[in-house]
Amino acid sequence: MKIGIPRALFYFRYGRFWQQFFNHLGIETVVSPKTNKDLLDIGLKKVSSEICLPIKIVCGHLEWLKDKVDTIFLPRIVELNHGLYSCPKMIGIVDIARMQVGNQCQILSPKIKNNFIFAHFLLGLNLTKNPYKARKALNKALPYLNNHKTNVFDNHKPKILLLSHFYNLEDDFIGQDIKAAFIENGFAITTKEVLDQTILNSANGFAKNIQWIYERELYNAFHYNLTKVDGVCDIISFGCGPDSLVGEIMNQHANQNKVPFLQLIIDEHTSKTGLVTRIEAFSEIIKRKTYTTDLHK
C-alpha cells in the first residue's frame, strides 16, 4: 500500500507528522513535488474559477498523485479545539477530491472533529488492525506535530509581520517572491509560525468572536505583534471568505493604532513585478514614517 500526500494545504502544518506516522506504521508515503506552474495549470482546469488559489493548487497535486499511488491521504478537518471550525472549502475539498480522482484511486479521509490525536489513532488502528502498533507510531510521530520555528531578529532592520495562512506563505510558489521582495528592501520578516500555540489559540479580546481555527491564529498573531513591528503585510488569496472579513477587521485595528498595513490579494494571475512594485512602495512608507518620527523626537 502506497499513500500519497499532496504537498499543499494542510501539509505545511501537519505534513511531517503524517509522514512519520505512516512510516512508523510501515506504510510507504509519496509526497507530491513542490508546486509549480504546470501543477497549477492542471488544477485550474479541474475546479471552478471562483475558488481560492490554495484549493486550485491542491487539485493539481491530486492529479499528479492519482497515477502514482493507490491511496491519497486527505483528512477532513471539521472542528478543532472545541467549537473552532475550519473553512468550508477545507471541509469540502475532500468531496471535490472524491469527485475528481475517486475513480482512479481510493481517498483516505478520516473525519477529525475535536480530537486530532484520537482520530489518528483510529486511522492507525484501521490500517494495521493492531492498537499497540498504532499507538507506538502515534507516540513516535507526535513530536513532529509541533512545527515551532525560531527566527532571530536583526535589531537594526525594520521589522515586518507577514500575515497569511501557512499554506500560502510556506508554499514557495506563492510565498517566495513576497518574502524575497521584503528581504531585498532591507526588512526582517516574522510570521505567525514562530509564535507559541498558547498565544495563537488564546481567546482574549476580539479573538474569542472568531470561530475559524486558522483565522483566530492570524488575528492573535496580529494582535501580539502589533506594537512590536513597523508594518504589517496581509496576504489574502482572492476568494478567501474568512480572510476578507478578518482582514478587514485587522485593517481597522491597524489604522486605529497607526501601523502601516498592506493587503496583498493574490491569485493565479498575480505577476511578480506587480507585487514587487507594491512592496517597494510600502517599504518607502515605512521608512518615511520611521524617519519623520525620529525627526519629531
Binding site: 477532513r76 468550508p88 468572536n209 489574502i236 478567501c240 471568505g241 477587521i249
Partner: protein, 363 residues
C-alpha cells in the same frame, strides 16, 4: 422604540409582524433599489459577498428613515454570514448616531427566548414564544402563497400580478392566530386550484443560497422572469424551513442531507448540503433543468457547485450557475435565462419527437 431590520423577500412581512407582536414599532427601510446597493457597496470591504452589501445598505437606509434600534441575524460558524455584524456594527457607528445595534444569534434558541428578546423588548418569555409561534405560522402561510403564485404565473401571468398584490395585502394584516387562519382560507380561495398545469411545461429546480433565492431584488426577480417565460419554478427554500431548521424540527433537512450524501458526505457549512440534496431530489422528481444561484465567492456554494456539476454529468440534466454580485445586470441575466430555457425546450422536443413521428406514420 423604532425597529429596523434588513428586508428578506416576502418574509419581511412575517418578521415585521413578529416585532409588532412583541410590542415595538417597526420602521421599515424603503424597498430595495440600486441606491441601497450602491450605499452598501460604498461602505463594505472589497471582497465580501453580496448579502453583506445589501443588508448594510438596507440598515443605513433604515437609520435614515428614523429607526433607532437595528437588528441583524448572527451566529458565527463556518459561513461568513455569522460574522457580518462585527463589521456592520463599526460601519453603522460611523454612519449613524446614538442608535442601538442588536445581533441576534441564530443557534441559541434558549437564550433567544429567555434572555435576549425579553431583555430587549422588556416582555415576558411567554410572549416571545407565542410571537415566535405566530411567526412560524405566518411564514408557513407565506411559503404556501409562494407555491401558489409559482403555479399562477404559468397559467396567467397578468392575472398573477393582481393576485400577488391582493395576497400580500391580506398577509400584511394577518397578525393574530385567528387572522392568520382566515387569511389562509382567503388565499386558498384566491388561487384557483382546479386548473392543472400542462404536462409539457418546463420545470426548473431553483437551488442556492437562501438570501439570494428569497430576496427578489438580489436575484433580479428570477422567479417572476422564469414564470413569464412559462417555466414552473421548483423552490424548496423558505424562511419557514430555515426557522424549523434552527428549532431542530425540519424533517425535510434530514431528507435532503440523505439525498446529498453521495456527493457531499459532510456539511461544509451554510446551505451547501441543502442545495445539493434539493437539486438531486428535483432531478429525481423529473425537473428538466437546475438553476444554481449564489453570491460571488460564496464559500459553501462553491463547494456545492462542484457537486452539482458532477450531478449534472451523472444524470445528464442541464445546470445553469449564476453567481451574482453588485455588477450583475438584469439584461445579461435575462439573456442567459432565455438561452437556458430555449435549450431545455429543445431538449424536451427531441426526447418527445420519436413518439410524434410514430403517430404520424400510423395515421
Amino acid at each position: 422604540m423604532k425597529v429596523a431590520f434588513p428586508c428578506f423577500g416576502y418574509e419581511t412581512i412575517s418578521l415585521k409582524n413578529f416585532v409588532e407582536n412583541l410590542g415595538a414599532q417597526v420602521c421599515l427601510p424603503p424597498p430595495l433599489t440600486e441606491k441601497t446597493l450602491s450605499l452598501g457597496t460604498k461602505y463594505s470591504p472589497e471582497l465580501i459577498c453580496l448579502p453583506f452589501k445589501i443588508t448594510l445598505g438596507n440598515l443605513i437606509e433604515g437609520l435614515r428613515a428614523g429607526a433607532d434600534t437595528l437588528f441583524m441575524a448572527a451566529g458565527a460558524r463556518k459561513c461568513r454570514f455569522g460574522y457580518y455584524h462585527y463589521i456592520q456594527e463599526t460601519i453603522l457607528r460611523q454612519v449613524g448616531n446614538g442608535h442601538k445595534f442588536y445581533p441576534i444569534s441564530q443557534y441559541t434558541p434558549f437564550e433567544f427566548f429567555f434572555r435576549k428578546m425579553p431583555s430587549i423588548f422588556s416582555v415576558s418569555p411567554v410572549r416571545v414564544i407565542t410571537a415566535t409561534y405566530l411567526l412560524l405560522q405566518h411564514s408557513a402561510l407565506i411559503e404556501r402563497f409562494r407555491n401558489y403564485i409559482r403555479k399562477a404565473r404559468i397559467l396567467d401571468f397578468n392575472k398573477s400580478r393582481a393576485q400577488e398584490k391582493h395576497a400580500l395585502e391580506l398577509l400584511e394584516h394577518a397578525k393574530k392566530l385567528s387572522q392568520i387562519r382566515k387569511t389562509k382560507e382567503a388565499i386558498d380561495k384566491l388561487f384557483d386550484k382546479t386548473k392543472i398545469i400542462p404536462d409539457n411545461t418546463i420545470k426548473i429546480g431553483l437551488v442556492g443560497e437562501i438570501y439570494i433565492m428569497l430576496e427578489p431584488f438580489a436575484n433580479h426577480d428570477i422567479e417572476k422572469e422564469l414564470g413569464k417565460m412559462g417555466v414552473w419554478v421548483w423552490n424548496q427554500r423558505s424562511l419557514y424551513r430555515h426557522l424549523k431548521h434552527l428549532l431542530h424540527i425540519d424533517h425535510l433537512g434530514i431528507k435532503y442531507k440523505f439525498q446529498a450524501s453521495p456527493y457531499l458526505k459532510d456539511s461544509p457549512g451554510g446551505e451547501a448540503i441543502n442545495t445539493v440534496g434539493e437539486a438531486r431530489s428535483f432531478i429525481k422528481n423529473g425537473a428538466d433543468g437546475i438553476i444554481h444561484i449564489y453570491p460571488f465567492t460564496c464559500m459553501p456554494e462553491n463547494i456545492a457547485f462542484e457537486a452539482l456539476q458532477k450531478m449534472s454529468d451523472d444524470y445528464s440534466v442541464p445546470l445553469l450557475s449564476l453567481s451574482i454580485d453588485e455588477h450583475t445586470s438584469q439584461t445579461g441575466l435575462l439573456t442567459r435565462l432565455e438561452a437556458f430555457v430555449d435549450l431545455l425546450k429543445r431538449r424536451k422536443m427531441i426526447t418527445q419527437k420519436p413518439k410524434i413521428q410514430n403517430s404520424k406514420i400510423k395515421t
